[in-house]
Symmetry: C2
């Protein structure tokens, strides 16, 4: 079990920890998982490279060294790193914005993007800045992934049907698809449409109906699920064979075409200041989104076995994986959901499973590359559409609407902005709206005027309970930390109550829910204290928490306060009444 | 007394409320205050127009209609609206960035800026968006005003000494002043240096020493303070007389020069799409900063008399004042600190005092304009320097350092960025850093593992108190609302504790300090609940607040939770122990 974060070298190289106890049974488990993951990864990697607007073989390049880097640096036993859908879409958007036309330059830009997001993640890991990822709230991520899934699926329709078209927003995509569909009436490309639609139907069918069928035929629960997950490789092999046997390439079917066998040597992408500037924001966004997806997946899978991952070290591991991808001629990678679940279910015992998968994929590239020439692009498009279709889930909108309008607003902005303005604007809008909504809510906290429940020492809201109050004592309970966003609210509230109560002599702020008082709030309290003092009204505090009291002791407030600080609200009221 | 926010027409036109009870004694008080404020406002308005890079007479234009608009719409009895230092500096920065050289175009741009910030404030008021101003925390404002004061004072040195130079950042200013001072050795402009430095010394002296001197001579406390505050008018009259009598204009002293007598007719500034775009951000910033300054001043003065102001209506009033300033040929205005304090101390009884001051200033423009021709610009520069000098106060740095490093970081960023990059970057950096710091702090909340203090029903931190715990029950108290910024922290924490406690069967989250659970946190709780469930560990909640419980009831969580929700932590532990 990977427990507490270790110190020293083992913190930075978790392999030194688990590697020491590595034994034969774990080896067998890992190799089995590696074989299964490899079979699933090959079509997925090719497809996501195409989704990123890059040559399919780059998907394989991005699946070897990154897995090895993650084996050395990663803390999750199940996470499988490589090309993933949303990151590939972001890569496509970032590269297309550069306006490059030369394929060699686009490849170089993708490698540079991987390098930059890798360095960004590595720095965040070394500086322990993983909390930045918290800015992406769950609803925003859910909305973003749904909207991205729609954009990705629509973006693959041209390759699926052998028509023109493309775009980065819903309107661009629908507009160009509409025009292309009209054109295709005159020149229908039947071979592409046949391969694309048959593959699509097969994949949707195998995803939903294959496992039950195999179970009916007597296969085990686990075996049938696994087979259904690996069925895309059949689509790749079948459609490749059909393209070769029927020579569909000559009849209008777009094929991947000849690519160099094996893996390229290690390279360094071209770096220029213009490119660095143009790719800085996308690189940071890719890094953070990849990190968030990876950590969510890894944390979920680790918890199932009472294990833990270390988010800060995951930044280092993902950063290294991206840097490795760049040097290997690949593009940005992350820990994917579906591939990691397959790895987990296949029984991966340690991160070494990733290493074996990498070796197997490297071997496969030597054997497969010649056959890739016959792989139809329509098959890859169908693979992508089926993979992302499960990501599209509008139920988050309904859930958010029912739970809180604030969360609904954040989800809706994310979805609308992603569809209307593209992925980067969508993430940006989501983050901004959720922060603004949070600040808005905490700037108008729930406040209760409280009184004592007769016969007890409890103080409750005067509007909800029959309680005892005194005309010259006002007890206020603020259910929020006091900080800059709500200091004006607090001042306004106190002055309002004072202006309505001519007999008032004491105000007690009950601080049981105040987790922080920042300098703005301290200055507000000082101003309130001094103005109330001028009016002959004393300000008291009660039930101040330890850490808040520690902070107040570092200021002059406890000397200046006209009243006292009491342990409990009951004690405060009793003491004031006694003193009269 | 202005009490609760009134409804209907009176909400939008507070004059209908206080005007109904307007009587003779109030009239006498208001007129006296108006006379005093008028005498103080004339030199200040001229000087701040020059600070904004505009003809001095625009300061008078900006002091008539805005005061009348505020009389109709304002809720503060003391606030005095007109040109203020920081807003004038922001105006200068915004206009200079347009790269205009034609003075007529600059005047038109300043009028447009006033119109835009007025419309912006009016919209915020109608939509009740006053909370946006909360984003400017006290320490950020204090840092910004200090840094602005330095920039303003340095920016006036050229006019004070009759040399060249200027700039919008500390480095630009120091660099150009250094060069100009070297040049001035060859061609010293003695008349300007004499007028500038003598006026400066007189103003500093009168500010600190005049009031005590007058008190010694037998004048009342209030009278001597008032005289000292009005002494700048003597500097204006004296230096103007000297310039005329000695014909210093011919000897190198820069004078204001001939301006048209009286007030201009109502005009509408030129509007173009380019200008609207270029001025949008500065207009919003000027609006918000002006609003924050005005509300702070108005709230402080109102509280002294147990009165209240209505911040949302203040947005309407300030918006109207800026729109009025634009139509009257003025520039952006706000409620100033020093002028409002003078108005308050002079005994202004209602907002009508502002109306009378406006009438007096309008009369004065007819009488004074011919004399303005002889007013030395060096005198105005000295007036500005003395006025802003009191704003420069670095003690906020020390205070913030002692109280909390987070607040210190926000102040320091604001000061450094304002000095290094200019006013807009400074405010932006301050707002950004304070929000980030707040999110960072609440993303790593204080958490305590708690146990029962023997013989009581209280639960306290196991690290601070001798308490009773049970190996199969873990009680966690999180001292923060649960929301997107800390959900990952919570998950990580729970999984860490679970991975370290093999005997664990129950986790109780004590929610007494949880003021909110947003959708992200709800989903985290659902994930935690389900993963703990898989491990045979039950999740319970205790001491959930009313509003939080209301939200949870709108979700499925209360059906899905493996454990129970208890009224108190004591009840939770007792119940779990009994059930065994």
């Amino acid at each position: 079990m990977i427990g507490l974060a270790p110190k020293g070298l083992q913190r930075w190289f978790p392999i030194l920890q688990w590697g020491r106890q590595y034994r034969g049974p774990q080896f067998a488990d890992d190799v089995l998982a590696a074989v299964i993951v490899m079979v699933m990864l090959i079509p997925q990697s090719l497809a996501y490279a195409m989704l990123a607007g890059l040559p399919p073989e780059m998907g394989l390049y991005a699946s070897v060294l990154p897995l090895i880097a993650y084996t050395v640096f990663g803390t999750s036993r199940a996470l499988s790193v490589g090309p993933v859908a949303v990151i590939s879409l972001l890569t496509a958007a970032a590269i297309s914005r550069l306006g490059l036309t030369d394929p060699a330059q686009m490849i170089s830009a993708a490698m540079l993007l991987a390098l930059m997001s890798g360095v960004f993640l590595l720095l965040m890991g070394i500086l322990r800045l993983g909390f930045v990822a918290n800015f992406l709230s769950h609803p925003v991520i859910a909305g973003f992934i749904t909207a991205s899934g729609i954009l990705i699926a629509l973006g693959q329709v041209p390759a699926l049907l052998g028509i023109q078209g493309g775009g980065h927003t819903l309107i661009e995509l629908l507009h160009s698809l509409g025009l292309s569909l009209l054109e295709t009436l005159n020149a229908p490309n039947w071979p592409t449409k046949a391969v694309g639609l048959i593959t699509l139907l097969y994949l949707f069918w195998s995803r939903s109906a294959l496992a039950p069928l195999l179970r009916k035929a007597g296969m085990s629960e686990r075996g049938s699920t696994m087979m259904a997950r690996l069925s895309p490789i059949l689509a790749v092999l079948g459609s490749g064979f059909a393209a070769w046997y029927l020579d569909l390439g000559a009849k209008g079917l777009a094929l991947v075409g000849t690519v160099p066998a094996g893996l390229p040597g290690l390279t360094v992408p071209d770096v220029s200041l213009t490119m660095l500037q143009a790719l800085a924001v996308p690189a940071a966004m890719i890094g953070i989104l990849g990190f968030v997806e990876s950590v969510s997946v890894a944390q979920g899978l680790a918890a199932k076995k009472r294990e833990r991952i270390h988010p800060d070290q995951e930044l280092v591991a993902l950063g290294s994986a991206n840097i490795a991808s760049s040097f290997a001629g690949g593009f940005p990678v992350a820990g994917g959901f579906s591939r990691s679940v397959v790895n987990f279910d296949a029984g991966a015992a340690t991160p070494a499973a990733g290493f074996y998968a990498a070796v197997l994929i490297a071997l496969a590239t030597f054997l497969l590359m010649p056959m890739l020439a016959w792989l139809p692009r329509a098959t890859l498009a169908a693979t992508i559409i089926v993979a992302v279709w499960s990501l599209v889930d509008f139920s988050i909108l309904k859930k958010a609407w029912n739970y809180s309008r604030a969360d609904f607003l954040a989800v809706l902005s994310t979805i609308v902005m992603t569809l209307a303005m593209g992925v980067e604007a969508g993430v940006g809008a989501g983050v901004l709206v959720s922060i603004l909504v949070h600040l808005y809510k905490s700037s108008r906290p729930h406040v209760a005027i409280v009184g004592e429940v007769p016969g007890t020492e409890h103080f409750r809201n005067v509007q909800r309970h029959q309680v005892v109050t005194h005309p010259h004592i006002l007890s206020l309970r603020v259910d929020e930390s006091l900080y800059f966003a709500n200091t004006r609210f607090l001042e306004d509230l106190v002055y309002k109550e004072v202006s309505e109560r001519p007999a008032l002599k004491h105000i007690i702020l009950m601080c049981s829910a105040v987790n922080e008082i920042d300098l703005s709030a301290l200055e507000s309290l000082e101003a309130i204290n001094s103005r109330l003092g001028d009016l002959g009204i004393k300000l008291h505090l009660s039930e101040v928490k330890g850490p808040v009291m520690d902070a107040l002791r570092r200021s002059h407030f406890l000397h200046d306060i006209t009243g006292k600080v009491y342990m409990s609200q009951h004690q405060a009221v009793t003491d004031i009444l006694l003193a009269e």
